[in-house]
């Protein structure tokens, strides 16, 4: 099996996949959940419940506003304790719905399963996906129905099923592919029906040979699907890089999207959720989250309800093993450090990585020595060193001309920089400033 790696740059950090052999464990529904009204890219939801209301699992608690928006649902049954500002993974209090459990964990009966889902027209399928609140589960949380509705001017010929899971430490998708492979494949078939494509490529990094074999076995009778093993390289699982590796097509600079080159990428977790939403009318109320890092006693892959506070997950893994340095929501490359364990799990929480204090890097930034490591490592083919200097000198016009808006914030430049310059933060600063100035104009 040829191991593919076509994109330029990238890094190979230590994989640290020590939770890859832990089967998915169900985390009991907590006594209290906080469901944020903004867990996705796009407009936040409007709360459709008020304190005192009774809800059951699967009831809608937040209504989507606008096209690029999805609903949010209750992940436990109980009573609405409050609707207001609560801690959020983004680091500031945001509107959310607090639900207190009634201990019954009862499903709502407002759901309509479809046994013959492959007979439904694509529009109906997309509508279900939107209603059930499905978003990209790889971490970005982009509304899936929007991704599956490219405009007619952009014809699509391939669906890429993203099982790369290139971030170190994370193993949620790996376990999903081993334990829920059929769901993923059915979800892929649904997505391919919606898009009208007859080619689907399942992309898996070669450090997951058992998943590769499992998938290959299941798709023997499905000619439209194929499995491709990828060389282990971060960020293999990033959309643009994946498309380059699998199809050898380059998504254009300056705001290009995968649909511009005829491809759509979907995470395996998203596809499994799509299948469950369409077949069983299951709204997105739970996900697999890897709780790992040397800072927890027993790393595990947990099936958690959306809205569970982080501390419940840490407790389920035996608690902290030593003095805590960082608690990262997501992977160590692109995740967001948290300062409170009250923060709830949201739809995009693929993992929680706990770094003990002893592992946190000390030291501050040194001057750039022009070594060029960052330029070699950048998978988006940018020059982080130059962009970093532009950001420091507030030269945003020049930064824009050097394509800073195409930065995918993967963190490769930060990782390789021997001077420990905070490049990702500088580039994010430049991007934020440029967007602010665009809006003001």
């Amino acid at each position: 099996m040829k191991r593919l790696y076509l994109f330029q740059g990238g890094i190979h950090p230590s994989e640290q996949k020590f939770s890859q052999n832990s089967p998915i464990e169900e985390l009991k529904a907590p006594d209290r959940v906080v469901v944020p009204l903004s867990q996705h890219i796009g407009a936040p939801c409007q709360a459709t419940v008020a304190p005192g209301d009774r809800v059951r699992k699967g009831d809608r608690v937040g209504q989507a506003t606008g096209f690029v928006s999805v609903n949010v649902h209750a992940s436990i049954s109980g009573m609405i304790r409050g609707v207001g500002l609560f801690p959020h993974p983004l680091g500031r209090p945001l509107p959310a719905v607090e639900i207190e459990s009634d201990g019954e964990d009862a499903w709502t009966d407002n759901l309509k399963p479809h046994e013959d889902y492959m007979d439904l027209p694509p529009e109906a399928l997309t509508e279900i996906i939107r209603d059930m609140g499905i978003v990209g589960m790889g971490g970005a949380a982009f509304p899936t129905h929007v991704k599956l509705s490219p405009p007619k001017e952009k014809p699509i010929d391939t669906l890429i099923i993203n099982g790369a899971e290139c971030e170190p430490y994370l193993t949620a998708d790996h376990r999903l592919m081993l334990e829920e492979a059929e769901n993923i494949i059915e979800g892929a078939r649904i997505a391919m029906r919606i898009l009208g494509v007859d080619r689907g490529v399942i992309a898996i990094e070669s450090n997951k040979p058992d998943a590769i074999d499992k998938m290959k076995g299941l798709i023997e009778d499905i000619p439209e699907l194929e499995v491709l093993a990828l060389k282990v390289r971060y960020p293999q699982g990033a959309e643009k890089q994946l498309i380059k590796t699998i199809l050898n097509r380059e998504v254009p600079f300056s705001g290009g999207l995968p649909m511009d080159v005829g491809a759509i990428v979907q995470n395996v977790g998203t596809l499994s959720a799509i299948y469950k939403a369409v077949r069983f009318a299951a709204p997105l109320i739970e996900r697999i989250t890897t709780v790992t890092g040397s800072g927890v006693r027993q790393p595990k892959n947990l099936r958690v309800r959306i809205g569970t506070p982080t501390k419940a997950l840490i407790e389920a893994c035996g608690g902290f093993s030593s003095e805590v340095g960082k608690v990262i929501m997501g992977g160590p490359m692109m995740g967001v450090s948290q300062y409170s364990l009250e923060v709830p799990v949201v739809k995009g929480t693929s993992g929680i990585v706990v770094q003990p204090f002893s592992e946190v890097e000390e030291g501050s930034a040194q001057p750039c020595i022009r070594c060029g490591s960052c330029v070699r490592a950048c998978p988006a083919r940018l020059m982080p060193t130059v962009l970093g200097v532009f950001a420091q000198l507030d030269m945003f016009e020049e930064a824009q001309r050097y394509d800073v808006m195409d930065c995918i914030e993967c963190g490769c430049c930060n990782y390789v920089c021997p001077a420990k310059i905070p490049l990702v933060q500088l580039l994010r600063y430049a991007k934020a400033e440029i967007l602010t100035r665009r809006k003001a104009a």
Partner: protein, 334 residues
Amino acid sequence: MWIALFCLSGLGLVASLGLGLAAKRFAVEVDPRVEEVERVLPGVNDGGCGYPSCSQFARAVVEGKAPVNGCVAGGEDTALALAEVMGVEAVIGEKRVAVVLCKGGREESKTKFTYRGVENCKAAVLVSGGDKACPYGCLGLGTCKRVCPFDAVVISEDGLAVIDTQRCTGCGICVKECPKGIIQLVPIGKRVSILCQSGEKGSEVRKKCDVGCIACETCVRVCPFDAIFMEGNLAVLDHERCQVCGLCIPRCPTHTIEARDGPFPPVEIMADKCSGCGICSMICPVSAIEGDKKEVHRVLEGRCVGCLLCIDRCPKDAIGIEVPINSAVELASR
């Protein structure tokens, strides 16, 4: 010699004819006043007038699109000079200076986490809103200092941005660039400011900062000119109404209110003019004047807050005060 003269003159004539024709052919309309205006302007290109460069502002003034007092950094002198060039009357507004509405430094306020990253407030704000526990607090990483064209910002040892009112010209760039939006422009004579912008409940503020406004509303009650009102959980000062008496300052339990540019000097009663009527002692809101009827009154040490009500009311003009220049201007206009 004649040949030389002839040749040279001939060449000169040819050249001038050529240039004259060219001048007609390539004529460009330029108002000479633009150059005059440009010469008067400070030439800093700070953008306070709203135009990206001094030359563009100059053009706008001559075209009538910008007012002659549009150059904030240049101040009164520039406005008057521009008015002369344009042949119009200049309207001088009161000079304004910038004030950072936060006094919670590293000592007084708490942080949410240890921040290690770019030393720039705008970049730090991208990381969970900055490391300060209070979301309205000054991060002290110096974005305002960097953008100030007049070098008027100092970052104190306590990690707070402080504006040097001597250098500040009120151009307003720091106000725009502060990512927390906590810098305000106030008239230079209005020396009192409430140094907090926290909209959080008092109990929350107490947990995060020793000197934040806890919405106890004491200042609102104390102000004799009704110049303070509550906006949600924050006390706000109306500078139009504020008479800079300074009464609110000692009454604030968290010491959130401060006066810029020095304390208030005490008043002095001139013994040779005082008739002992006692009006000053009656109206003094802090009971800082005492004396018997028909006897010369005196000001008690350390009590006077400089509200100057007694000066207003003394029928014998027997009370005086040593004031710094700014306050004198302000007094004169009262």
